[in-house]
Symmetry: C2
Subunit: 344 residues, 2 copies
DNA sequence: ATAAATTATTTAAACGTTTAAATTTTTTAT
DNA sequence: ATAAAAAATTTAAACGTTTAAATAATTTAT
């Protein structure tokens, strides 16, 4: 079955191609098309079940109405949440999402940037990987608008939607301190990613403000390798609990780390919150099946995704200027932090 | 900065556009381009940082090298797992993924089919929604190849990658029976979706084969509305546990149902497996943070995603014929099923 | 030295749209 | 009845590629 094009509709309605184009694009009155002719054209289009070829349109208009989305890993709860919001908002704004995942690998990221620009996406939403600054510079050179999500590079001037990680981390730590915790461990990835470092900073600042002296071995650093995350967390926590270091609480800097930690605690029969308090950055819905609900900070994923699209579309259509938007996290109180600890 | 096209490269190298096209598409020898000329062209292309316009290419070749992926909800563990595998394999096959989510709504699904076909995707991978058979027929009419994943329609002849749901459900039920369970409840969505009905069938067949008389109130049916899933599961389980019906085990037909169930059991302080055994279809990694590991059937998500792409690409390129592939689930034994029950 | 064969390169049409400019038809004014 | 104005429609070029066919340049055979 041959594809139906404007030409076919034109023939069927007995008019020229351009008239069909005008009518089907809602320019009927502006171009002074006779009512009757317009009607005939529309009927013909319907009869033939005409479908515009968006590829041809894109070529002519140098506008694809598509945005590239590059995520770091769709299996992160953060990513699927934000992806969902992005797709929904994109639909609302009449854009289609072209999807790619770097899986935290630079080479895959570079490849995606390449393919997406060749595909002439109108813009990009990017959860970047470590060490991809050069690629972002490239995009700027090409004049392709993009917005970063979650992860920020200080030395790159771009639009950005993310969390106020410093504040969120500060608040979470403060929450623990106010409950009387003193020896607060912090489990984070060892990384150059700014947003994760901000969490360190928030944690340490809270300790400082409350006159708790931070001890270097309170920081449990995990290599950022998804495959053996659990082993690494186990190793880090063993270092605390096997050696019976004094520890009131462990604050996990991400949901995935927390999951590993909780698994560890179950295995070692360490009771939450009796033996140790637990705080998590980010959440899985499934936290709710832990025997005690986990206190955690919650990011407004839906809002972030929506804002990312809105900002990008603005950049694309209004040629607006880039900006940083940082949102606040909510602290969702569970039962994983011991209350009324004796202040020593 | 103006976009560099073949024309610019041609000018720079002092040759015609077609020669550039030949060389850059690896047809240099076939078209007998002089070695030296070819070299000059390649250099020019590099110098100017030429990037082919894939839109123009698509138009000319009537081939977009893109596949549409329509999921039902990216927040399902099943979906993100399979999406990950699909994107990876698509990359390997030189296809880009255009992503859309129906969020289980027919109207969104229809809209996506429309946009994707207008975008001239080469094919589609679809996790369909209830009642979208007409749309699949449309696709067949257009001659656009597609493969269904997870969910199957009996009355539609299409390629399909999914699980042997009947067998998986049968095996899980059998597992419970063999541990001595008699009163086995089954919690499933109330749905017309074939793959979920197959799970019912497997459950019932196992009971039958082991001469356990199925009682209608063992089937806990949950309306398929994500928003108030928890309330509905609670309601269903209350009907069992508040009324103190005799119940050895509850078999949840999906991971999301299981999560709700586990939450309920925690709230009501019903102990697993002491008070009741739990079996789940599908898993979340986070099952591992439940106080006892949950026995469940595991679908080979990665394999499914990979196969979906392979099958589709085959359909697209080799004009191969559609086929059904059903894979087997693994039963992952946890600690949520009581052992050595007295056979009454 | 010339024709034929081979090698190398260019021309031009096409893919399905959009749209400015040109043209034809109809209406209005005289 | 005719000119001018307005309304309706068509023509043709363009977007950036690919590729068959035409042409030009070089080599080989006579």
């Amino acid at each position: 079955m041959k594809k139906i094009g404007l030409k076919d509709v034109a023939n069927s309605a007995g008019v020229s191609i351009s008239l069909v184009s005008y009518v089907l694009n809602g320019q009927a009155v502006q171009k002074k098309v006779k009512k009757e002719t317009a009607k005939r054209i529309i009927e013909a289009a319907n009869n033939l079940n005409y479908k515009p070829d968006l590829i041809a349109k894109s070529l002519k208009m140098s506008k694809t109405h598509s945005i590239g989305l590059i995520v770091a890993d769709i299996d992160y709860r953060y990513t699927s949440g934000i992806t969902k919001a992005i797709e929904e908002e994109a639909k609302r704004c009449n854009y289609t999402v072209i999807y790619g995942s770097s899986n935290e690998r630079r080479d895959a990221f570079v490849e995606l940037i390449n393919v997406f620009t060749n595909r002439r996406v109108d813009g990009l939403i990017i959860i970047p990987v470590e060490g991809c600054e050069d690629q972002l510079h490239l995009l700027q050179g090409y004049g392709i608008p993009y917005v970063l999500v979650d992860r920020l590079f200080k030395n790159i001037d771009s639009s950005y939607i993310g969390l106020d990680n410093f504040q969120a981390s500060y608040n979470a730590t403060e929450y623990l301190i106010k409950l009387g915790h003193k020896k607060i461990f912090f489990c984070n990835y060892h990384t150059t990613l700014f947003h994760l470092q901000e969490r360190n900073r928030g944690y340490k600042k809270a300790l400082l403000d409350y006159k708790i002296k931070f001890k270097p071995d309170w920081l449990i650093e995990i290599p950022n390798i998804p495959e053996d995350r659990y082993e690494n967390v186990t190793h880090g926590l063993n270092d605390v609990f096997e050696k019976k270091k004094e520890c009131d609480a462990v604050f996990f800097a991400s949901d995935n780390l927390a999951i590993c930690g909780l698994k560890y605690f179950i295995e070692k029969q360490i009771r939450i919150p009796d033996d140790v308090s637990v705080m998590s950055f980010d959440e899985y819905d499934e936290f709710e099946i832990f025997y005690c609900s986990i206190t955690h900070s919650r990011q407004p994923l839906k809002e972030m995704g929506t804002l990312a699209v809105k900002t990008l579309v603005n950049l694309i259509e209004k040629r607006g200027v880039g900006k940083h938007i940082t949102l606040k996290a909510d602290l969702v109180a569970g039962k994983s932090c011991k209350e009324g600890m004796i202040s020593v």
